[in-house]
Amino acid sequence: MDERSRLEAERLDKENVMTEIKTYGPKNLPLEEHFAPGHRACQGCAEVLALRLALKALGKDTVVANATGCMEIVSTPLPTTSWVVPYIHVGFENAAAVCSGVEAGLKALMRKARLPKKLIHCVAVAGDGGTADIGMQALSGALERGHDMVYICLDNEAYMNTGIQRSSSTPYGAMTTTSPPGRLSFGQSTQKKNVAEIAAAHGIPYVATACPSYPWDLMKKVQKAALVEGPAYVHILSVCPTGWRSQPEESIELGKLAVASRVFPLYEVEDGRYKFVPKPPKQVPVVEYLKKQGRFRHLTDNMIEEIQRNVDEQFRRLEAKVRISLEAPQEPQE
């Protein structure tokens, strides 16, 4: 165990945060809250749930740099804050850059003995707009520079905070206020941008996809991301009843369907090697996922078939990557 992992293990132990999550059970959740109740998120918001779980996994020695967006707006109306951990919000497009600045600052101060040495997780949190669109450049820059930080994208697949406008992360066919279905349109005309793959293309040590419908998996992945040295990227699908026109009480179910339908597969990319984590559940047809959401209500059977074909094709590609990763030697051989 290297110095960093030892420090982290000690800290987790001390704070009664789980070191290894084996069994699901609310009693196993760390009790400490780092994102306090009283925020203004919508009913059934899975994004704020993902954030809460991620922070439980990270623990109190965390600094968050948040992009403008839902999580920022629901949590920090002056003079109140929901953030128990140190927090900074600067702009929409620069959470990755601000986070890398915090990391650089703390690193320099600790090296120069102006601050006592301590493992502090520097974490950038942004939505899909702040990641896939306006924040893409800052994200790529920070990943390429190799800062020791975690970037969490809370993807609810549109600009929900400004009133459900499409982003490059909005799925094909979805209705948003700027991709409305009409006589000449069927909704979003482009395929969802795959930011996890873009992050992986930077050759960073850890990339994962997660969903709060799989809370333990999400927490484990966030912990893993925090523990690797260097940049890590976690892309979290976050069901948004307001924007998806779904029932608030079905958010968890919908997240499970996103995974089971293979619309949003859960996997890890560790040092370039792909792995399904957890094992993909039994496949359900995409229509089961789509029909629960008002944003897809206008789709014809033909379009749903087209989406199914594309989902299958994308999943096959991912499977191929997982397969190749299994074949690849784990360690350089003599």
């Binding site: 600094v63 927090y87 800052a138």
Partner: protein, 390 residues
């Protein structure tokens, strides 16, 4: 007594940042700022400066990284020019609103289009209202000295403001000048370690950058305006103590031969020396001409400007930027505002020139003074772009 050296001003600025023991430098390449950060990266690479050098992918990220590192409590330095400053504009506002004492050297350059790398003050005026303390250096020595001053004033807990140090691109940045460097002991005496009131650290969690509803936004902005104005005595004190240690004395407004001057040239930046030369030549012919140099651009030295110009019959304000369709020269507009309430005030004549590195000679300043004296019109919109063809 410090060491006297001949040094390119950009290198001297990097050396000053190194002597100030900055913790983080984040910058993106842009002409004519490049030599400053190139030299800083060398100082880090050679182990002379223990700092994180963050080679960002844009100026927007440069300032964003600076905000993050300053919020973590690290002494933070950056430098930019022109388009780079324009690109980071959004976050330049946020740095001051979050009260983070970042020091940024702006190697002043024109703004596109047409694209030009040469010096004027168009970029400065794009950040005029960003809430930073802003100061102009007239020569290499001033530029070097003001790096220490900027950290000292900005980081003072009674100030906590970012500071922009303007130097004329190429004219100053790439000039080799004779200057006196200060020694380690002096820096230690003058510049204490940065002790922020709040920093991003788990030991004492704070929320920075919250949003305000209409009920609070106005109060936040009033507080910011008052805080910037309240930096005034600390700005003066910073200069006073520097004078005691080095013998080099600075003030918000500097005057040259203005005692009995009837016509006064008003400049900002390196043109002050050219204007002084023009004043000398005109004085030699018996004409009563002086120069007022605005060193402190924000907070604006209203009282000092009134005092410096009060006795003159004509103030010839030389601007290096165009405020299109408006007052023409931004500096002249400020001077006019400062003088407006006075019972007796000079006629203000505004020339705009030296755009994108166009040379302005002492003779040009003499021509401007002569034209200004004979000019009947005293309205701001009568500004003239000097030396333009067609």
């Amino acid at each position: 007594m410090g060491k006297r050296v001949g040094m390119e001003v950009s290198i001297a600025l990097a050396e000053a940042a190194c002597q100030a023991d900055v913790d983080v430098v984040a910058a993106y390449p842009i002409t004519p700022q490049t030599h400053i950060v190139e030299h800083l990266s060398e100082l880090v690479a050679d182990g002379h400066l223990d700092a994180e050098f963050v080679p960002v992918e844009s100026e927007h990220s440069a300032m964003s990284v600076c905000i993050g590192s300053s919020a973590a409590g690290a002494r933070t330095f950056t430098s930019t020019s022109s388009q780079g400053l324009a690109l980071m504009n959004e976050v330049v506002y946020i740095a001051s609103s979050l009260r983070l004492p970042i020091v940024m050297v702006v190697s002043n350059r024109s703004l596109s289009a047409p694209l030009s790398i040469w010096n004027d003050h168009s970029d400065v005026m794009s950040v005029r209202d960003t809430g930073w303390i802003q100061v102009f250096a007239e020569n290499g020595q001033e530029a070097y000295d003001h790096v220490f001053w900027a950290f000292r004033v900005g980081e003072d807990r009674r100030v906590l403001m970012p500071v922009m140090l303007h130097i004329d691109g190429f004219i100053l940045s790439h000039m080799v000048e004779a200057l006196e460097m200060v020694d380690k002991e002096l820096v230690k005496k003058y510049l204490p370690a940065f002790q922020p009131i709040h920093r991003l650290h788990p030991d004492n969690p704070v929320t920075m950058g919250a949003f305000a509803l209409p009920e609070l936004y106005t109060e936040a902005k009033k507080a910011q305006d008052e805080a910037l104005k309240a930096s005034w005595p600390l700005i003066l004190q910073g200069w006073e103590e520097w004078a005691q240690l080095t013998g080099r004395r600075y003030s918000p407004v500097e005057t040259y031969r203005t005692e009995d001057a009837e016509a006064v040239l008003v400049t900002m930046g390196s043109m002050g020396e050219t204007a002084s030369e023009a004043a000398d030549r005109m004085r030699a012919r018996g004409e009563k001409v002086g120069v007022v140099k605005i060193r402190l651009w924000r907070p604006f030295p209203f009282e000092q400007v009134r005092k410096a110009l009060g006795g003159a019959r004509v103030a010839v304000v030389f601007d290096r930027c165009v405020s299109f369709g408006g007052p023409g020269g931004p500096v002249a507009s400020e001077i006019r505002a400062a003088l407006y309430g006075e019972a007796v005030r000079p006629k203000v004549v505004n020339f705009i020139g030296g755009l994108a590195g166009r040379d302005v000679s002492p003779q040009d300043f003499q021509n401007m003074v002569e034209e200004a004296v004979s000019r009947k019109e005293d309205r701001q919109e009568a500004y003239r772009i000097y030396g333009v063809r067609g």
